[in-house]
């Protein structure tokens, strides 16, 4: 469809004034802008965060190192449903499920290993989790001296939770009791022959 003449707006190039044509006054005003920035930054108004000394305030939706949440009794919240490892596009979550020693769930993770080097920090595991057991914290400076050190097992992930539970609270999920999935089945008691041994 052609543009109608009414919609066409002709704009004239603004004319330069004498002061602008003289060039020097324009440069002086430009120098003023430069110096304003310079003095502002010299007085401490810069935007740089000197990282190791100052730590940036990371927004709560930041996706950093994972943690495995604990429930109110201090047990691991995970029910070993494998939804996170299925959702994971990088295949970095390795879970071995075992019959749960506790009465409120069927299974629990015997081992739960995340390869932090392989993870792409997309947050899909967190979205997939039905019981809000896995969460991405705001820790961002994850380092290690070897590859094996970066394979985070269940104890390590739980300790990340202990370390961060008071400082960061991801806004995507909510801590508390087990998630909505488990609450639906509150009346059901699972029987587990190994329960006594496991505890």
């Amino acid at each position: 469809m052609p543009i109608s003449a009414n919609d066409v707006k002709w704009v004239e190039q603004p004319k330069l004034t004498l002061m602008e044509k003289l060039y020097v006054p324009a440069i002086v005003s430009g120098l003023g802008t430069t110096m304003r920035h310079m003095f502002k930054t010299m007085a401490g108004g810069g935007v740089t965060v000197s990282f190791p000394e100052e730590r940036p305030v990371v927004p709560p939706y930041f996706k950093g190192v994972h943690r495995l949440n604990r429930d109110e009794q201090g047990r691991v919240k995970c029910v070993a449903c494998y939804l996170c490892s299925t959702a994971c596009p990088a295949h970095c979550i390795d879970i071995v499920a075992a019959p749960s020693p506790w009465s409120d769930r069927e299974k629990y993770p015997e081992t739960f290993v995340i390869d932090e080097l392989r993870c792409i920090y997309c947050g899909m595991c967190e979205e997939a989790c039905p019981v809000d057991a896995i969460e991405l914290t705001t820790l961002f400076d994850l380092t290690g001296a070897s590859r094996s050190e970066m394979m985070f097992d269940k104890e390590k992930l739980l300790s990340v939770y202990d370390q961060t539970k008071d400082t960061t609270d991801p806004i995507r999920t909510s801590r508390g009791k087990l998630g909505p999935c488990s609450e639906l089945n509150e009346g059901i008691k699972y029987s587990n022959p190994n329960r006594e041994n496991a505890q």
Partner: protein, 387 residues
């Protein structure tokens, strides 16, 4: 023995050696200052890791340049390739020889002559002659590198420096006419008695400063080393200390032009109320000498800061604009100023008459280009109406 040590030649030699040792050190810290100013103007912090407030950064950089591998491409012209950075640094350091960096006096018996070579009657001519030789470093370096980018950079530099040589020299002819000497000490002395040339002839000051920036290949005239188009320009093929020597040359040149601007236009070490003007036959004391030295250094640092701020303020000129500025604006204006200076000098009128002349001459190119803007617009409208 003591007599031999206090022989004027020995003292001059020691002073020259000291200045030659100190200037590269100052250059290293000017690079640090430049990086800091660049950072501040861009709302950053700048180098602050090496030593307290990053003050050892320059030394670390220098060490890095010394220890780096010297890569010499096989296809270069080895002699010229090695010679070019040396010419650059050598000429830039030679030019400092006659530039005062502290108190001077027209009385040659005064022991406080803070110049390496005092009483050179062709002073300013010598500075220009030696200073313009630095373009050889760029041309030779660019040609010997046998690289397209280097060569284009060198070609640009040759045309640019030759063009800006003319307004650079002509802008100070007005001063030389007034003073009647090219001796830099005498130029300072004239300004003490008649007023700073910055106030008497503001337009030549502007022309001189602009041309000096172009001579030095500083922003906004750094076409020989435009990173966007020419990789590194003339120094693309240089590495390690040879690369650093080009920078040493550039920053020494910057010190020279800042000192020259202060000496020629801002009265050198003179500052009303701060420095004492000597009576004829009176000698300088050490206290006064140091105050005068500090005054001149402050002026120099101010100029250097302005040069660095300009770098982060104005974008680079297009090549035709660069040539247009030299040939269509600066040269006619400096010619006009020279003409009026000759008239004032011939009839023995007050030099202050040149102040209104400068202001009027400054307004002329603006008015001309406004008129041209109108004319072009009318032509364009005529063309559109014709269609």
């Amino acid at each position: 023995m003591w007599e031999l040590l206090t022989h004027p030649w020995v003292i001059r030699g020691i002073v020259a050696l000291l200045v030659l040792l100190i200037v590269p050190g100052i250059c290293a810290y000017l690079i640090f200052l430049e990086r800091k100013i660049a950072a501040w103007t861009q709302d950053r912090i700048g180098p602050n890791r090496v030593g307290p407030w990053g003050l050892l950064q320059s030394i670390a950089d220098g060490l890095k340049f010394l220890l780096k591998e010297q890569v010499i491409p096989t296809y270069v012209n080895k002699v010229l390739y090695m010679l070019a950075p040396g010419i650059g640094v050598g000429c830039a350091l030679l030019a400092i020889a006659v530039v005062p960096f502290g108190p001077t006096s027209v009385n040659s018996a005064d022991p406080h002559q803070w110049v390496i070579a005092p009483g050179v009657d062709i002073g300013i001519l010598y500075v220009f002659a030696v200073g313009s030789l630095t373009v050889y470093a760029i041309i030779l370096g660019g040609w010997a590198s046998n690289n397209k980018y280097s060569f284009i950079g060198a070609l640009r530099s040759s045309a640019q420096v030759i063009s800006y040589e003319i307004p650079l020299g002509m802008s100070i002819l007005g001063i030389i006419l007034m003073v009647g000497s090219m001796n830099l000490e005498k130029i300072i002395d004239y300004q003490i008695h008649h007023g700073w040339f910055f106030l008497i002839q503001p337009l030549p000051f502007l022309i001189f400063f602009t041309s000096a920036l172009a001579e030095n290949n500083r922003m906004p005239f750094d076409l020989p080393e435009t990173e966007q188009e020419l990789v590194g320009g003339f120094h693309t093929e240089y590495s390690a200390m040879k690369f650093a020597m080009f920078f040493l040359g550039e920053y020494s040149h910057m010190i020279t032009i800042s000192l020259l601007c202060s000496v020629l236009f801002l009265g050198g070490w003179h500052f009303p109320g701060l420095t004492r003007v000597l009576e004829p036959g009176e000698f300088e004391t050490w206290g006064g000498a140091i105050i005068k030295f500090l005054v001149l250094m402050t002026k120099m640092i101010l100029f250097i800061c302005v040069i660095m701020l300009i770098r982060w303020t104005i974008p680079r000129f297009r090549y035709d604009q660069l040539m247009g500025l030299a040939w269509k604006v600066l040269i006619p204006l400096s010619l006009g100023n020279l003409f009026f200076a000759m008239i004032v000098r011939h009839f023995g009128w007050s030099p202050w008459l040149l102040l209104p002349v400068s202001i009027i001459l400054f307004l002329v190119p603006g008015a001309v280009s406004l008129w041209q803007q109108d004319r072009e617009e009318r032509l364009l409208k005529g063309k559109l109406a014709g269609v």
